[in-house]
Symmetry: C2
Subunit: 206 residues, 2 copies
């Protein structure tokens, strides 16, 4: 950060300094502004970790997101990705096309439902996705180690961070998201794959 300093220059001279936002209508207001700002700065650093690598390929953050989720859910459908990213088909389309054209993603027709395009990473895509995860994980790991301290219980620090982040998510989204994360982690185990979205009842072709 070049400088995140507000010059105090004529702070004492000019200003009619509007009184600091005090508890209006009983709201506690002020005391959480630090968390608001820390989230802003922390997230900005966090997402910009991959930027240099992305630039090498002429990609942006949208490509990163697509790569990440396909990495985590190999064989996912385009619709699944749209649900996760919450963008339009057209927005995703562009990014996806570039990733396919440049050989990072492989898109194959589903066998039980041939309308579907199932998405997989190529080895090249896998390597890139892993690079991103390594980068961002390194930041998180350093942070958790600091939170834990030298005698640290990293696991506790992680549990705290995780609980906080989950609680920051809209209540109705938490279940699906936690299941999404859990399912991805056991992706190698096809037996545990059927958890949500009523199994699409493979009836026609199945």
């Amino acid at each position: 950060m070049a400088d995140v300093n507000v010059s105090p220059a004529q702070r004492a001279a000019d200003p009619p300094a509007p009184p600091q936002a005090r508890s209006i209508e009983g709201a506690p207001a002020a005391p959480l502004v630090d968390i608001i700002e820390l989230l802003f700065f922390a997230y900005r650093n966090f997402v910009s970790d991959p930027d240099e690598i992305l630039a090498r390929y002429g990609f942006g953050r949208a490509h990163h997101r697509v790569l990440h989720f396909v990495h985590r859910h190999p064989g996912m459908r385009v619709t699944d990705l749209l649900d996760i990213l919450r963008i339009t088909k057209q927005s995703l389309g562009r990014v996806l096309r570039e990733l396919v054209d440049q050989g990072f993603i492989d898109s194959r027709a589903g066998s039980s439902d041939r309308r579907q395009r199932l998405l997989y990473l190529t080895p090249k895509g896998e390597a890139l996705a892993r690079d991103f995860i390594a980068l961002q994980s390194a930041r998180i790991e350093r942070a958790l180690a600091e939170c834990a301290g030298p005698d640290g219980r990293m696991a506790d620090a992680k549990a705290n961070a995780r609980r906080f982040l989950v609680s920051m998510i809209d209540a109705e989204d938490r279940g699906p998201i936690e299941k999404l994360i859990a399912r991805a982690e056991s992706a190698a185990d096809p037996a545990r794959a059927a958890l949500l979205r009523p199994p699409a009842r493979p009836r026609g072709a199945g």
Copy 2:
């Protein structure tokens, strides 16, 4: 969230399922992916809280950021804002002009250095900035309350969250950012204003 579910459809049928990214080269890799994703989902919810209000005025998130930091640092210079937001003068220029034109921000020439434009919120701008803070604070407060539990020590939960977020920030930025936050909080106290960026030695006109 409409649906963050990856269809398990032909998960078991099709895939050559590339083996789940395992610790390569000794890196622990995998176990922090949940935090990576939770950060993504949590931050997305967090920043979209103000969207509905912003839309009413035809504003976007860039306007929110400007409003927020001017609210926190009344009388700040344009350059200060550029340092904080890390965008170009031209990018800031557009949003700033709209905010000034529509009467949310008041820009006055500095008295000791008349090249400067010192930024203040109008009452209208103050009200809006407070609305945003109230919205986002509410989310954070709910989250911390959940972390703390019913018998909860909210203060501990907050301290944990804060420590984690600070640690997620690039080491060299932490000092400046923490000072920035601290200074804003004591903005009503001009005596404590002079902390960073050598006081601009008001020599010429002063």
